[in-house]
């Protein structure tokens, strides 16, 4: 069976650190960075990148449209 792997790119400057993507992710890929961006927000990042399946759920709930999603079958 083909396996699906994914990855997301967070526009860290646009991210406001609301955390909605973190709870929307079914694979617990995302976390909030301890660091902050220039506006002081704890931006999201892939904490467990290997778990990502590229389902886009994070991007779909993101109010600031700062997540781009990639997906590939391997």
């Amino acid at each position: 069976m083909a396996k699906v792997v994914g990855a997301v790119v967070v526009d860290t400057e646009e991210c406001k650190g609301c955390g909605l993507c973190v709870v929307a992710c079914p694979q617990q890929v995302l976390g909030q960075n301890k660091q902050v961006n220039s506006r002081g927000y704890h931006f999201s990042f892939m904490e467990n990148p290997e778990a990502c399946i590229g389902c886009s759920n994070c991007a779909i709930v993101c109010p600031d449209t700062c997540i781009t999603v990639y997906r590939v079958r391997v």
Binding site: C18, Y41, N57, P63, V72
Partner: protein
Amino acid sequence: MEVKDIIKPENLVYEKPKLLTENTMHYCPGCTHGVVHRIVAEVIEDLNIQERTIGVSPVGCSVFAYNYIDIDWQEAAHGRAPAVATGISRVNPDKVVFTYQGDGDLASIGAAEIMHACNRGEDIVVIFINNAIYGMTGGQMAPTTLLGQVTATTPCGRDAERNGYPLKITELIAQLPGTSYVTRQSAHTPASVRKCKKAIKKAFQNALDKKGTSFVEVVSTCNSGWRINPVDANVWMEENMFPYYPVGDMKDAERDSKEAHLKKN
């Protein structure tokens, strides 16, 4: 597979719609407006009606909606967006006109304008963001504020005797023969966002097909006004808002044949 090998143009499955501008939205972190703006942009893109669409933004947090979607916009006086949309639509029947309004704008100061625009069956789309509070002015009681809900002007909670009851305006709108599609959605989970997009797309398609007014309420959060974090605000909404404002279609004139005769023309 390395992350850098996945992030390639051919593997792209989701990106920001082209119709959203580069402007950073002024909304608070976690605000539902951002999601609904994106859905509207996606729908306009999907239907390929950028050149035909004119948006009407309200007074309230979404007053600056015109900064974010790359279409022509008009900014209306508080509550008057449905009248402004009527004016645009009547003299430009080839255009697709939508209003984007909050609960204070639509259900309080603009209650007359929304009722009459819907009753005339203007061929417009109404996007109604109901977060049960006045966001922009600092969290005062809205017509849709729940009983017991604490706001800046109901510090001890909304009291029916003093403040009246939360207004289910969408249920009232659904009674009007001029409306063809009236629905209540939310946009807080991946599944609800997908459903909400389907509803908004149907509303825009109805406007294109001149089927009368389509009205989409989106039960939303205002985590700043509610004084809760964005994630907990979604939970609070599910537990408190949904029982009073249940999501789902209230009217689909095409589907409900008994109502088909009420359709315009």
